[in-house]
Amino acid sequence: MSVTSFATPGTGAAPRPAPEAEGRAAGTLRRLFRSPLSGALTLVIALVLVAVAWPLLRWAVIDAVWYAPDPAACRAEGAGACWAVIVEKHRVILFGAFPYEQQWRGAVIVALWLGWALLTAPRLLPLAVRLGGWVVVFLVSLVLMRGGILGLAPVGTDLWGGLPLTFLIFGGTVAGGLPLAVALALGRRSDWPVISFLCAAFVECVRGFPLLVVLFFAALILPLFLPPELTIDKLLRAEIGMIVFFAAYAAEAVRGGLQALPDGQEEAAKALGMSYWLRLRKVVLPQAIAVALPALFNDIIRAFKNTTFFSILGLFDVLGATKAALQDPDWVRYGLEGYLFVFLLYFLICTGLSLYGRSIERDNLRRLRRAGE
């Protein structure tokens, strides 16, 4: 039987550039009008979008009332969104029940947090400087909120509120929760059955409770069991609840990262004579956390949104403060605008966190491709 397989040797021609690819805009346009039906659908959908978008735009921008010292202006015939409510109530929304003449302290805190976040986002400074800076920002924020020294009037935690409170709860949750999460994840993989059982039980128990229950327990039930001379501030108790809740979820993300690490990494480090802590610090954790990062940022963003749960304990984070501000009978009918504003605030901050997380991931991906693959 003769062989029918064949191969034709190349002509040895010089390499030539690839044929030019279709531009993105041209390609999209072509696909939108690929056939008469597809073109018709495109037009119909475009019309619907315009029909919806136009009234929305009129309401939110063109007919909106931006500034009115008197809510009557918002009730005028044909008036759109009443953004004036935010101008009027911005102090309460941003700073809650914090004493009015002391609210500059809250403004400084917000400026510090946003400023340091923007400054460190490009990661030009060394990690130690960035983290050290956050510790300083956090401590300064605590001093500014609390007062009582440096001539600042003392303010009880029951009056803390608004965006500074949201930032502090969030910062404390992540700063306290990440180390606890790493400890729990390592503990769960421990060779000692008692430790691994305790860590697993802790994580499973906390994950089995709704956050609301954890917070209620920390804020309302825990004091019943503590001796009366040991009084811990309600805010601190609730914060501990937040940290524990965050850590239980983040621990599982970190554990996933640890599991993704090939055994060879640990073995090579051992063979080089590196001690347990050194291996952990320089070989295991940097890689495990890089792998766990997408899941960790999921938890971090959720931690930011979970700060809203504090309002059920009578502590007014931004959402709680907004709700309180909208109790004013003059403005009560403009709740939609108030909540839209808070929505936008959360959306911007969470999107910022999410973009930051993705930029770290991209950095890691560039380096983490393993040798030989």
Partner: protein, 247 residues
């Protein structure tokens, strides 16, 4: 005459019910080269991993340059300080540059000054002909380059004994040579080493002793010429015939 580099006697190891190392005894003289071969699953890798305490064992004794692995952390530390291991899968740290891969152990584990460590690292990278790769990440290297970096990494603390666990098995054929060349240079400089490999050319040129293992025990130990020319046991003969097949 100094103490033998490695001395193993009456070593027995079980993985669950499997008896994976059976009464293994062998010694490596200072400055000598030992090649370990045998079919996969014969226990060669497990054996050399026992030498630096990556595997535990139930019976027998393992001594490296006079230091016996007695189960204490101190012995483990001493043994690992005097030895180095090169793995089949390189096991470079992917999050560190080539230079940092070399310096991290000595700088953080042994308190070597950063500048001194960097200088020594560059020297060693030059020796494995990778001077121009110091700033790269392992993911950017070819397999052969990665394995040469891994060899340089183990040399940072001038180990008395080097262990190689199938160092060329994960490499594309055209890269095997560059790694063997570096290993042969080390051998020529009098480095004591135990090499688990199927590279018969390397064994012929370098080995003082070829040890053939099968099913967890040493079947034959002889000089390379007689091993490859006339293996005495049928199992060794079959093995030699099989790995010669492709030549």
């Amino acid at each position: 005459m100094s103490a033998p580099a490695v001395e193993i006697s009456g070593l027995n190891k079980w993985f669950g019910p499997h008896h994976v190392l059976r009464d293994v005894s062998l010694g490596l003289g200072a400055g000598e080269k030992l090649v370990l071969c045998g079919p996969s699953g014969s226990g060669k890798s497990t054996l050399i991993r026992c030498i630096i305490g990556l595997e535990s064992f139930q019976e027998g004794s393992v001594t490296l340059c006079g230091r016996r692995l007695d189960g204490t952390a101190a012995a483990l530390r001493d043994v690992r300080a005097m030895s180095g291991m090169v793995f089949q899968s390189f096991n470079l740290f992917p999050h560190l540059t080539v230079l940092e891969n070399l310096t991290i152990g000595p700088v953080h584990g042994r308190g070597m000054a950063r500048a001194a460590a960097a200088e020594r690292a560059r020297e060693l990278l030059a020796r494995v002909r990778l001077s121009d790769q110091a700033a790269k990440y392992p993911g950017q290297l070819s397999g052969g380059q990665a394995q040469r970096v891994a060899i340089a990494r183990t040399l940072m603390l001038a180990p008395r004994v080097l262990l190689f666990d199938e160092p060329t098995s994960a490499l594309d054929p055209e890269m095997v040579h560059e790694v063997l060349e570096v290993m042969e240079e080390l051998a020529a400089q009098g480095q004591s080493m135990i090499v688990v490999t199927h590279e018969m050319g390397f064994a012929r040129r370098v080995a003082d002793l070829v040890v053939f293992m099968d099913a967890g025990e040493i079947v034959e130990a002889t000089d390379p010429e007689s091993f490859f020319a006339a293996p005495r046991s049928p199992r060794a003969a079959e093995f030699v015939a099989q790995i010669s097949h492709g030549d």
